[in-house]
Amino acid sequence: MNPKEEKVKIISEEFTGEDVDAEVGRQKKNSKVQRQQRKKKPPATPPEEMVSNKFQDGGQPEMVEEEPETNLLSLTARRGPRSLPPIPSASRTGFAEFSMRERMREKLQAARSKAESALLRDVPTPRPQRLRSPSERETETEFGTEPNKEVGGTQQEDDSQRHSRFKLRGSAHKIKSKPQPPPGFPSAEEAYNFFTFNFDPEPEELEGKTQVKDGGRAHQEDQEGEEEACAQERAKKTEEEELLNGKDAEDFLLGLDPTAHDFVSVRAAEYESAHIRLQKEKEILFVPSRLTVPTYKKLPENVQPRFLEDEGLYIGERPEVPRSNENIMENRLLIQEPGRKWFGDDGRILALPSPIKPFPSRPSLSTQEQSTKAELETLYKKAVKYVHSRQHMIGSGDPPGNFQLDIDISGLIFSHHPCFSREHVLASKLAQLYDQYLARQQRNKTKFLTDKLQALRKAVQTGLNPEKAHQSLDTTQKTINEYKSEIRHTRKLRDAEQEKDRTLLKTIIKVWKEMKSLREFQRFTNTPLKLVLRKEKVDQKVDEDAYEAEIQAEIHELLEEHTEEYTRKMEEYRTSHQQWKAWRKAQRAKKKKKKGTAEEHPEEEEEVVEEPFPEEELTKPVPPELTDPAVIEQQVRERVAHSRRKPGEPMLVPELSLAGNVTPNEQCPRAEVSRREDVRRRSVYLKVLFNSKEVSRTVSRPLAADFRVHFGQIFNLQIFNWPESLMLQVYETIGHSSTTLLAEVFLPIPETTLVTGRAPIEEVEFSSSQHVTLDHEGVGSGVPFSFEADGSNQLTLMTSGKVSHSVAWAIGENGIPLIPPLSQQNIGFRSALKRADAISSIGTSGLTDMKKLAKWAAESKLDPNDPNNGPLMQLISVATSGESYVPDFFRLEQLQQAFNFVSEEELNRSKRFRLLCLRSQEVPEFRNYKQIPAYDREIMEKVFQDYEKRLRDRNVIETKDHLDTHRATVAKYLQQVRESVVNRFLTAKHHFLLTDLVVEEEVPNISILGLSLFKLAEQKRPLRPRRKGRKKVTAQNLSDGDIKLLVNIIRAYDIPVRKPVVSKFQQPSRSSRTFSEKQTASPSAHSPVHSTDYPLGQELVARYVSLIPFLPDTVSFAGICDLWSTSDQFLDLLAGDEEEHAVLLCNYFLSLGKKAWLVMGSAIPEGPTAYVLTLEKNYYLIWNPCSGHCYGQFDTFCPLKSVGCLIGPDNIWFNIQHHDSPLRINFDVAKPKLWKSFFSRSLPYPGLSSVQPEELIYQRTDKAAAAELQDRIEKILKEKIMDWRPRHLTRWNRHCTSTLRHFLPLLERSQGEDIEDDHRAELLKQLGDYRFSGFPLHMPYSEVKPLIEAVYSTGVHNIDVPNVEFALAVYIHPYPKNVLSVWIYVASLVRNR
């Protein structure tokens, strides 16, 4: 074997392998074992045998199995050139079943999809050329490489092609034959031979190719003829199917194992005739009929279909289903489910109402594709103003247009008023009657009824006339009867009307007469009313005739009526009589019978048994009586005379006019005059309430003498919501006193058709239930009064009247009425109404009238089951039945109760809860309370004590700490101010600004930008860094322990030092110096101005001012603000800081006639502060207002270190000098280069008025009170000193104390100066044998606490030398306005041994 041959062999092996695989796919019959066998066996078969077999031309097949193969081969050899009708798929009939084919096709589909295109191309190409030599084959396989499968695939295709050709040519005999196992596997050479052998005639091959197709088609036709059952599948066949056929053939050739014949038997193809098949199908398959199912089949037996819709029940619209589909479904259901649960009472399939909405719920997208983007684009829509949603609101989808309701109030007439005089009462009655008369006259019902009556009579007459053609007697008789009854009815009505007319006229005349007599009686006239009775002459004769004729006609009719009645009754009588007769007869017969049969029975017994029975049964009927015409006539005449104008009597026409004169005041009695005055004092106005809210009111108009008020005002109500109610309230004002609400009038809401201009003026009545009794001629209201002299026949009238108005919808600018629109598409009750068209049937006003609505609903027979009517029905049921319980209270949180853990009391009792509440409210006592205990029991009661005490004492002035009522009051006041300010700041604390939260650079300007740019070049860490100002921390953000005070003492001057020498302690030399904190600077350091020209007045004033206690604002309102109070407030409060002191001092200086300024600057130790500057003759003095000390300008110890500005009485000057130290500046404010004034030529002083009061008022301080205070303070201080020495005995030296007490006033007088030496000498003299050390303390008096602290800070009490004695004296010097100067001298004495 050469290599080529080898290759061919391999390929052919592959072929078989592939074929086998394909076969496995197709032939389920063969087991795996079989396949294995086949795979292995082919090489086992001797090739010679194969070859010999193959080359047995036309030889008879020895084996059945081999027959097709040999046949095939021989036939191909022989018949190749001929064009036979080949039947390629002959084998199919043999073993291919329907399902098989299906599977095959599927499998092929996959292969085809890969190779289809190539295949289609390949088919027409003459294949044999390529297949002629193995080398060519080889190339082909090489080309068709790629993955193995792919190769196999292409090869398979190729093979199938090839084999199809074989088969086409040579399988003519194969029809209906079973596939035969192919002969043994051929060797490569054999195979090559085999192939080449088959294909030697080239052109024929091509021809054969064309034949393939023809043949295929022909064959198909054949098959169709043969196998009807498969007809449909055949019809679908395509080229690929031919391929399939080819495959089959290939199977025959190669795929089948030669040993397969062991399992295969040959038999005729099974064929089922179409008829049988159809029958079978009928058994299995069910084709529902399209015909309508008769209703009886769908309903239970003997049940009539019931159509709910016809019964008036609501049936939703069924979804649309084609009738035929429905039929099919019904048929199906009938077969499947014998129970008829699918069918409703009406015999149709049960169905829910169609869920399909008639309109798209999604906005329609335009069909153009490119516009999809546009669809997704967002649209800007302006925010729509929110309209309150309310029940009667116009649908929210509406543009909230302004609707307008015009209310025209033209006037008001009282039909009764307390100020009515008796005449007015009558006049109003008369006017009312006259109005009634006019109204009746206008309607003229009498005339109408009379005419009707005549017409009816005529009709009856004509109907009775037999001249007319008798259509049918019955009908005429019927109509006549109807007419007659109508006549009767009309006559009655007319009589009633006539009577009413007449009585009205009579009453009018009667009232008028009464009025006239009243006028005569009271001798004045109050009303201009005048009634004139106009007589209209009538023709006596005609009138009488008509009258008589009328009576006659009536009598006639009545007679007729009676006759009818009589005949009817007679008829009745007759029948009943006959019945009675028959019964009697029967009775008698019975009696006879009974008598005959049972004679022995006693008669009584018989009667007891029988008689009561028949006697009750029937009584003998009484024949009716014929009425007497005379009687009837009598009746008629009487009635007519009563209700009708007598014949010939003139017709009376009343005419009411206002032509009368009212008696002027002068001629009236006093009571009447006062009544008229009262009327004049009264005025009336109306309030217009829309939906119970006042929207406007009329002007107040005085009540006219005729009790009419004319308003003539039109109110245009711009509304959003549908009006629920429109109300007018009538108010009356008497003089200038209070107004009273007389009455409320509800106005009907106009129909939507009613627009301005077309609305008629209507009158609404109102009445009031007020009771008024007046002391003049006015009859009052709700009070009985009488027209009679004796007071009988009492009458009680209530205030009442009419408001004439008109309400209409306004018309907009463009002529559109401004009515809330009705065309709503929105949900809610209105839209439901709209659908039901309620508005059109009852008008919009009906919407607010539930009863009307309910009535309409009942009349229009709304379907209550229709969900569309749901809201409406609910509304109506609520409105009419009142079933819904409307509570008369409003609960904000109706679920609150469910969330209450414990009762309110228990919650309030809980101390912990209370503590938490108070803390969250930031009550000062609890603001920073930490760790509230977990249990109530752990909370001490005393926690609340302070707080409760504070609450209790809020209004109680505590004098304990102050010993002085004035100061206590002030302290309380200050405390309250402080509290309120702190509270305000606590609330303000919770309002944050951005700067409170975020640290951000300022918006930069050019300079900052430049600076920062410059800074970039700066050193990052300069050698001598400059201190940066820290951000101020506001006090309200602080909590406990946040404050750390850092004190840096730089230098100090003249610090008082206690002499360290103990021996000197004996001498009370320097220790006697007054230790007032204000005297930090030594007196010697005071400027030379301390001398003679130092004015005493100024000193005193400064001292007074300095005695007013100092209370910095920073203490009161820590870090919050700086308050400047006026001098009187300052003096009243007796507390203030530098500004107040300085202002007061400056004011004193100014009033002393000095030149004085307020200095704003900074000082040590106050920091920013206020001082006072005065100009003496040629130098300036700087005053510290709080200490009362003054310094010369060039005093180096002046605590004022810098001057910012000066404030004079009429200007402010700012220091623009280079320096700000008072030592180095010039105080001459006249120099504009040194001082920049606030008010200058460009901004002149506008002459502002001062906030200060014109003058201050001083009260003399009670000296006795001061003395008492002095004693108390002394006592308290002594007690305190004893308290501070709990381990030691504290002895008081009375002698020394009294000495000191005498000494203190001296100190006060000399203001603590220049008495040192005197004092020392005095002390030495008095207490020579004591070592004395003590301190005189001087303070302004505010409260006790600072005094105690001052005494404590002296440390005198700390001496623990045995035998030490103490002395303590207090002196209080009162100044005006409760300013107290307190001197305390505290000393310790040790007896010299």
Binding site: I932, A934, L993
Partner: protein, 221 residues
């Protein structure tokens, strides 16, 4: 404390500020502190019963505040900034109101090398005992105007909260505008004591189930 009815409960928190995701920034450090109500106090952890060496060691308030090291981004895809900065604090309280929150603020250099804030965030300490992982979104206040934004960028002074603790409260936040920046992942191990005795039930019924929430937490990530 061992009494039958305790008056306080204890909340012990340890864990760590694990890592952060700040896609735009690098070299960040973080600061944390706790914000808690008035009824809360960090308790003294005293080791009086501890081993002799530790007996002297008294950590007064645990690690109530801390500043971490500067961490750079990892070189991998995650680009995580890992601090692994420990948290260890114990609180005692009488009231769950004002439950502690941890407030984180992250800082790092901007292009000019100035340390600027890169994010603020806060989260409550988990209520239930066990292991919890929390990822907090971080944010920074925005400049009020574009000009200020520019200058603040230019000068390296970005807007900052006056106090990082404001992020733990709602008050005053309405005046600020913020921008989100990144995420910080925290790990908490929470132990409570006496909560139940005081009537507060926060955790799972049995302590065995403590694993549960932590698992679900991690699932949430």
């Amino acid at each position: 404390m061992a009494a039958a009815s305790p008056s306080v409960f204890l909340l012990m928190v340890n864990g760590q500020v694990e890592s952060a995701q700040f896609p735009e920034y690098d070299d960040l450090f973080c600061k944390y502190c706790f914000v808690y109500g008035q009824d809360w106090a960090p308790t003294a952890v005293s080791w009086t019963h501890g081993p002799p060496l530790l007996r002297a060691v008294v950590i007064p308030e645990g690690l109530e505040e801390g500043i971490s090291q500067i961490a750079s981004k990892s070189q991998d895809v995650r680009q995580a900034l890992v601090w692994n900065f420990p948290i260890d604090v114990t609180f005692k309280s009488t009231n769950p109101y004002g439950w502690p929150q941890i407030v984180l603020s992250v800082y790092g250099p901007d292009v000019f090398g100035n340390d600027v804030v890169r994010g603020y965030g806060a989260v409550h300490v988990p209520f239930s005992p066990g292991r919890h992982k929390r990822t907090i979104p971080m944010f920074v206040p925005e400049s009020t105007s574009t000009l200020q934004k520019f200058t603040s960028w230019f000068m390296g002074r970005r807007p900052e909260y006056t106090d990082p603790k404001v992020v733990a409260q709602g008050e005053g936040r309405e005046v600020t505008r913020v921008r989100s920046q990144g995420f910080v992942t925290l790990l908490f191990n929470v132990v409570t004591k006496d909560m139940k005795k005081l009537g507060y039930d926060t955790g799972p019924v049995d302590t065995q189930g403590v694993l549960g929430p932590s698992l679900s937490q991690s699932n949430l990530q």
